[in-house]
Amino acid sequence: MKRREFVSRAGAGLASLYPARSWLGPWPTAAWLLIPMDDSQTDHLKAYGVAYRALKRGVKAEWFLNYRSGAFLLPSDAGTARDAALAGVMVEPVDDSQLVQIRGGLRNDNMDAVPLEKPPKVAVYAPPNAPPWDDAVTMALNYAGIEFEKVWDAEVLGQKLKTYDWLHLHHEDFTGQYSKFFLNYAGSAWLVEMVERNRAMARSLGLPSVPALKRAVAVAISDFVEKGGFLFAMCTATETLDLTLAADGNDIAASYADGDPMDPNATARMKWDRAFAFRNARLELSPTTPVYSDIDGHQVNSPERRQPLGSYTLFNFSAKIDPVATMLVQNHRQVIPDFYGLTTSFTRKTLKPGVTVLAEEPGASWVKYIHGERGQGTWTFFGGHDPEDPQHQIGDAPTDLSLHPHSPGYRLILNNVLFPAAKKKELKT
């Protein structure tokens, strides 16, 4: 080892022993702050919040795809340094010459820099009194400190969606069957309230039943995407949204939801061209089994069909050719433990051609994380309920994300939040 190299390495080692320095404030000589997203990061999830709030302050940022697991570059200013220190987010000072070196690497490898310009206006579809700890996206946004507004049926049908860039759906049952818990949890206070609230909403909007209400909402959401909106859905919202759209008014709801039983030939009457992601699925006819169709590979609520949890693997995409898919899979882990939801995964046989698979369980007949386009907008579906609560049960204690600041599953959610901030002309897919 040459002396110069030794001195340089020793200096770097000594600097790493003094991490608090990076939180103390701006560096007089550093023009930039790099938020690394590899294993050196002290809070991966809050790092997204620091980047988002910088955008809110009017700062221009960059997302270095595939560089240090998706690092962010921000101008070095007191506001960003203070925000990172408060959030416990690791930032590194970078001067212009270091930045030139980094950009050289971005040019030569499977990496790219995507400008982030405008903080996306985020809406979360949830009932007004939904607890904040029952939805992974709400938890991630709250923890990272990313602003959002809640919308529900009245707002969606009242054309309010066009005021947002990004809409998130979680475990809403768009077939209007209350997650098919109606019979098994009959009498439970939370279910009684859910049923009453939805029926009241349907009545107030002049719709004959909850399935009719949810169908109208699903169509409005489809229009939102068609006109350029970004849709991100998890858990059962993914499957039921597509089923409702494909049913196209055909009765796929049990009698407890709309007064008459499901059409026994519903499977044959589905119009899959209306759906975002799926086709040729077979519908579950039993009103008591909390399963909708064979879209879900894990069938968690069917003891005979339930599949065990494995791990899913993120795909590698070309950062320069496929920046959108690359953004959505930025992570410091390539293989991530799976987690259940009412819809946990998506069977390969029911995916439409053209759907981009972002993560799969190798060797299994299902995939985990998919993406596609509709009209001028895009949609992303992520199976499962809570990445850090693999066996989530009704009544479980809420997940505390301060105990999971490096959660790779939650990072995927937050990739989706920042993705609409990327400058449009950079998006090639």
């Binding site: 608090a20 408060l86 709250n142 439970s188 005979e304």
Partner: protein, 577 residues
């Protein structure tokens, strides 16, 4: 002669038991092929055996096993038909037949086979149970339920296949029906109780009250035992013990078995209620046990009651036990020891001292010292430092030094207390005592005074439970000390005590006095405590400012991670803990 022997040989062969048949070369080869994973070869070999002996159950089961991994389950049907022809009353053949028809999705054949089997065995549950299992294999729960109900009707027994019905209901999330079925099953076969409790205890919390009401409507011991077990599972150990008590059978042996079973469950639980419930069960066991065992059980009950804080219960158990000449000596000694502890905790220190004096010859040195330290602590808490000192004076153990340090401190001898605490070291006593001692050292070391009687008096008041008086005294002492020389630490202590006493305004004033730049070691802790007070008062915005100040001004403090956590809580970014 040879011709005359033939009938005899056949009769011997026909009388041979089945395993000998299966040891014949054809079966051996088939088993071997199957074991080696050559399922196609094994299936062919089993078929060859079945050609000659169509009702050979081992070969038929082997063929079924071999066809399964080949995904050729339906191919067994010809062999099954032949086996049924040859052995129309064999339960094993019917079982295979049902599974075969079910695998080929031929529900009419499943039903017909089951009905035929049931006709040949009209008093058995097996045909209906296997029929139900075959339907479940086809994911047809409704079909399985129909099979079980038909069996009940035919057999004329409403409790037939209750365990299967219970499992079926559980798979549908219907805990109410499952519990009703389990009651039927356990009444018929008590061995099902553990499974019944294990499965029903998984019911979601909102459903539990209803299930307990359902059980309380039943009057038999089976229901009471299941109710008690479920209450114990669901965190109500006292309810479990009280549910079972009035239902105990008159038969002593049976009652002891029932109580022991609950006691085993209760011992896995923690907390004072679990301890008290253990005391109740042990007391009930003692009442039903021979005297030699009863005294030991009463002692265990007394210890459980003591641990739960139920001193009356402990005294009730110990009464008479200490002086009972019939009780084994070890039991009497343990009882006397427990009684001294109870007397100390009740504040009856003279009685405790007298008992301890009498007991001394029977105790080991360690046991005696332990009790004497407890007595000294009791005197100290009563405010009698002289008697506390004399009780602990001969004790040179590290625990004794630590206790002597506290007595010095309460007398205002700061230097002497610090010296004794240091001499005691960090490991004397249990964890809470060690933590308290460390906290005292942190409080005393910046003082730079040898003696502070007002501080000793304040801390003694605190030891005796007079927090309000202690806070006032601490604040007065703190007012005369520079922040860096203990003033901030004493303000912090007074502030924390005020917060714990439900006086947020006083707490805020005291903590702000502690959170000053002049005391950079104390300020982060004071800020953190102040943020807690503000969050409790729903003044989150102010708490956020305090916490941000802590994180940004004291970035090297060990409390920064905790401050970030609280900042998240104040902002609603994580659930409150």
């Amino acid at each position: 002669m040879c011709l005359r022997l033939v009938p005899a040989i056949w009769s011997v062969l026909l009388l041979l038991p089945v395993p000998v048949w299966s040891q014949q070369p054809g079966m051996t080869r088939a088993f071997d092929l199957e074991r080696r994973g050559d399922y196609a070869g094994a299936a062919a070999a089993y078929r060859a055996v079945l050609t000659n002996r169509p009702a050979d159950v081992s070969a038929l089961l082997g063929l079924e096993r071999s066809l399964l991994p080949l995904n050729q389950g339906a191919d067994i049907l010809p062999a099954v038909r032949a086996a049924l022809e040859a052995a129309p009353s064999s339960s094993a053949v019917y079982g295979v037949a049902l599974r075969a028809w079910a695998a080929t999705d031929q529900s009419d054949s499943v039903r017909a086979t089951a009905e035929r089997w049931a006709r040949s065995a009209p008093t058995e549950e097996a045909p209906y149970r296997e029929w139900g299992a075959a339907e479940l294999g086809r994911q047809n729960r409704a079909g399985a339920r129909a099979a079980y109900l038909r069996g009940r009707e035919r057999l004329g027994r409403p409790d037939a296949m209750a365990a299967e019905m219970a499992q079926l209901s559980l798979s549908e999330g219907d805990y109410t029906v499952a519990l009703r079925e389990w009651l039927l099953a356990v009444r018929r076969l008590p061995g099902y109780r553990a499974t019944a409790v294990a499965t029903v205890s998984q019911a979601p919390p909102p459903a539990r009250d209803h299930l307990l009401r359902l059980l309380s409507g039943e009057t038999d011991l089976v229901s009471r035992r299941i109710e008690a077990d479920l209450r114990a599972h669901w965190g109500d150990p006292l309810g479990a013990a009280r549910t079972l008590a009035p239902a105990l059978p008159a038969d002593r042996v049976q009652a002891i078995a029932v109580l022991r079973s609950l006691l085993d469950q209760l011992k896995m639980l923690r907390g004072s209620e679990a301890k008290q419930a253990q005391g109740l069960v042990l007391e009930a066991l003692a009442e039903r046990s021979p005297e030699a065992q009863a005294s030991r059980l009463r002692l265990e009950a007394a210890q459980a009651y003591t641990a739960s804080g139920d001193r009356a219960g402990a005294r009730r158990m110990l009464a008479g036990l200490t002086d009972d000449q019939a009780a084994p000596s070890s039991v009497a000694s343990d009882a006397a020891t427990t009684l001294v502890s109870v007397l100390i905790s009740e504040g009856k220190l003279d009685q405790a001292a007298e008992r301890l004096g009498q007991l001394q010859p029977k105790l080991s040195a360690d046991e005696y010292d332990h009790l004497r330290r407890g007595l000294a602590l009791g005197w100290m808490r009563s405010g009698d430092l002289v008697r506390a000192d004399s009780a602990i004076a001969p004790d040179s153990s590290v625990e004794g030094l630590a206790l002597s340090g506290r007595i010095r401190l309460y007398r205002g001898d700061v230097r002497g207390a610090v010296d004794l605490f240091k001499a005691a070291g960090p490991y004397a006593g249990d964890r809470s005592e060690a933590t308290l001692r460390t906290a005292f050292l942190a409080l005393l070391q910046p003082l730079e005074r040898d003696s502070l009687p007002e501080l000793g008096s304040a801390l003694l008041q605190l030891e005796r439970g007079d927090t309000a008086d202690a806070i006032g005294k601490l604040e007065r002492v703190a007012a005369h000390l520079p922040a860096r020389q203990g003033g901030a630490e004493l303000h912090l202590l007074a502030g924390r005590l005020s917060a714990a006493s439900g006086k947020p305004a006083d707490a805020e004033r005291l903590l702000r006095a502690a959170a000053v730049k002049e005391a950079p070691v104390t300020a982060p802790a004071a800020n953190l405590a102040l943020a807690d007070v503000l969050i409790s008062a729903r003044r989150e915005a102010e708490a956020v400012q305090v916490l941000e100040h802590l994180i940004l001004d004291y970035p090297q403090s060990a409390l920064v991670p905790q401050a970030r956590r609280k900042l998240d809580e104040a902002r609603g970014a994580v659930p409150r803990t």
